[in-house]
């Protein structure tokens, strides 16, 4: 019965998404085009760096393309599933949470599920495939799947952090900057984090999930790490998940107890 409900929910959400595309065809096409433009911008940046003779030590241009592909995978998950968590504070701040609290679907889950863009996600996978083919590096398929799973989990942790920041709205004040703070974390996906000194990298591997956005997946996929190191870093991701899940649950409970709603 539970699976039937999940199936029905998934069907209806896909239907909603298609319905939205139909209603706003021009917007849909332009969204897709803009994704391509952002990708062009990223590739252009590294092309210019390479063309100007600037070198990123330890990474060839083709390897950077693999990094870009996984970075695009991160953005694909982020924009089509998880990024909407940054604006959850508005639901709390405007009192719209009331209407969601009295429905059987958990508000955060509802908020996320209703904003999933399945088509955008599919397009992201296509983009990643194209870039990887263009990079012309032979890659292990199983490692690739594992890397994509890591990116998904890293996004999940980032979503938890975003929600935690948004819970500040339970304590009253409007903070547009909450969204800004949440979104600024994705800047750590733009460049390989090997550029940072070791102590910063350790923080990004244990307490914060930034290293797992695309640097760890790229290093793992390109065989730039030993098996031992890969395993240890993977434990770092698990630690991240546990820490942030706990903090998220704790802050949600505290926030709910403090919630005052607004207006009549």
């Amino acid at each position: 019965m539970y699976f039937r409900k999940i199936k029905n929910l998934a069907k209806i959400i896909v239907r909603f998404r298609l319905s939205r595309y139909k209603s706003f065809k021009v917007d849909t096409i332009l969204n897709f085009t803009s994704n391509l433009l952002f990708l062009i911008g990223t590739i252009l940046f590294w092309y210019i760096i390479d063309d100007a003779g600037f070198i990123v030590d330890g990474w060839s241009y083709n390897e950077l393309l693999v990094f870009i592909a996984l970075s695009e995978m991160f953005y694909g998950f982020e924009q089509n599933i998880f990024s909407v968590a940054s604006v959850f504070w508005r639901v709390i701040y405007t009192g719209k949470l009331d209407t969601q609290l009295v429905r059987p679907m958990e508000p955060r889950r509802r908020f996320m599920l209703l904003n999933i863009d399945y088509i955008g996600l599919f397009i992201s996978f296509c983009k990643v495939a194209v870039i990887l083919i263009y990079a012309q590096i032979r890659l292990n398929f199983v490692k690739l799947i594992f890397s994509i799973c890591i990116i998904f989990l890293a996004n999940y942790v980032l979503m938890l952090i975003r929600f935690i920041i948004c819970y500040a709205s339970f304590w009253g004040n409007r903070l547009d900057s909450l969204t800004q703070i949440c979104d600024s974390f994705t800047k750590f996906n733009k460049y390989p984090l090997i550029i940072f000194p070791k102590f910063v990298r350790v923080i990004f591997q244990t307490i914060l999930p930034f290293y797992f956005f695309s640097t760890y997946p790229a290093q793992f996929l390109l065989g730039k790490m030993t098996v031992e190191n890969s395993f240890i870093l993977f434990l770092g991701l698990i630690l991240n998940i546990l820490i942030w899940k706990y903090i998220n649950n704790f802050m949600w409970k505290k926030g709910r107890a403090n919630y005052e709603s607004i207006s009549g």
């Binding site: 209603s23 009192g95 059987p104 009253g172 009549g264």
Partner: protein, 311 residues
């Protein structure tokens, strides 16, 4: 059954909105929650639905603390908040209702059955293919009400559900609520300012004033009190002919209100009316005479005032 036990709510800026509220709502009751703006009605409703946590006290629905175990009770409740839509704005009404059907896990038969039932009262099917954001305010209210009744909840909480509804739609809604209550023995709590409808719909009234429950009884008793208030005889005059007679008149019929060039008397019988009229003609130059039923809203205000004084 709903039990509200010693519920108080103090907001962060030290404003006390609810003050040690205690009352019970038995199964199958239709309760009107009345009060001034800012009296705490919506806050009380939010405490009763587990949306906000009372500062002290608790609300028990079927002996379960609603704030702590809200997710367990959700499928037994249907809540409509004042001017807070729960629909997805860029989807059609049909799609939205299908979404609610899915999340409440309602089977097709029950869904169609309820839609047909509700459609018979408030004509919801005519809105099916329209996008929610393109609906008028009243149409949106109809949609919200439909969405909270599909799963046949045992408890309905409605915060001013008739705002924006035309006369027919209001009549339809109240008929729907009456029939729903009879058929499913559901408890319905309605926040409303439309005191005119109390008698036709609700059998229990709660009046809240300054965070306190000042009236908690059957609607019949309230109506009895209201009907005992009589009628208003309003007289407009140009000038006073005889000040002494005027003074005697005012002393004799002390239930009066003076306003510029007009006086209003509250009368309880035909004799009283005739006496006052003849006295007025004697002592003032009468321009206009009006006889009207007491405005129920004014009476409710008086009840609230009276309760305020006795408290």
């Amino acid at each position: 059954m709903i039990k509200v036990e010693n519920v108080s709510k103090i907001y962060k800026n030290n404003i006390s909105v609810l003050n040690n509220i205690n009352f019970d709502i038995a199964d199958g009751e239709i309760v009107a929650l009345l009060g001034h703006n800012g009296s705490g009605k919506s806050t009380l409703l939010k405490c009763m639905t587990g949306v906000i946590k009372p500062t002290c006290g608790k609300v028990l629905i079927d002996d379960i603390d609603i704030f702590k175990y809200q997710r367990k009770m959700i499928k037994n409740m249907g809540v409509v908040f004042n001017q807070k839509p729960s629909f997805i704005v860029d989807l059609s009404v049909k799609d939205n209702l299908l979404f609610f059907k899915t999340i409440y896990d309602i089977d097709d038969e029950q869904y169609e059955d309820m839609i047909d039932t509700i459609d018979g009262y408030i004509d919801i099917r005519s809105l099916y293919d329209k996008q929610y954001r393109k609906l008028s305010f009243g149409e949106r209210v109809k949609c919200e009400i439909t969405s909270v009744m599909l799963h046949k909840p045992k408890y309905l909480f409605l915060d001013e559900p008739t705002i924006g509804l035309d006369y027919n739609a209001k009549e339809g809604l109240y008929a729907l609520l009456r029939d729903y209550n009879k058929k499913y023995n559901a408890s319905i709590i309605i926040i409303t300012h439309e005191v005119d409808y109390i008698q036709s719909v609700c059998n229990h009234a709660l009046i809240i004033s300054g965070g306190n429950i000042t009236y908690n009884n059957s609607c019949d008793i309230l109506n009895e009190q209201l009907h005992q208030q009589g009628k208003t005889l309003s007289i407009k005059y140009e000038y006073i002919k005889d000040n002494m007679k005027m003074k005697k008149l005012m002393e004799k019929y002390s239930e009066n209100k003076v306003n510029n060039q007009s006086i209003s008397f509250t009368i309880y019988s035909e004799d009283e009316k005739n006496n006052i009229l003849s006295s007025c003609i004697e002592c003032m130059s009468v321009l206009e005479i009006k006889l009207e039923n007491i405005n129920l809203r004014e009476v409710l205000e008086d009840v609230l005032q009276e309760n305020k004084k006795s408290c």
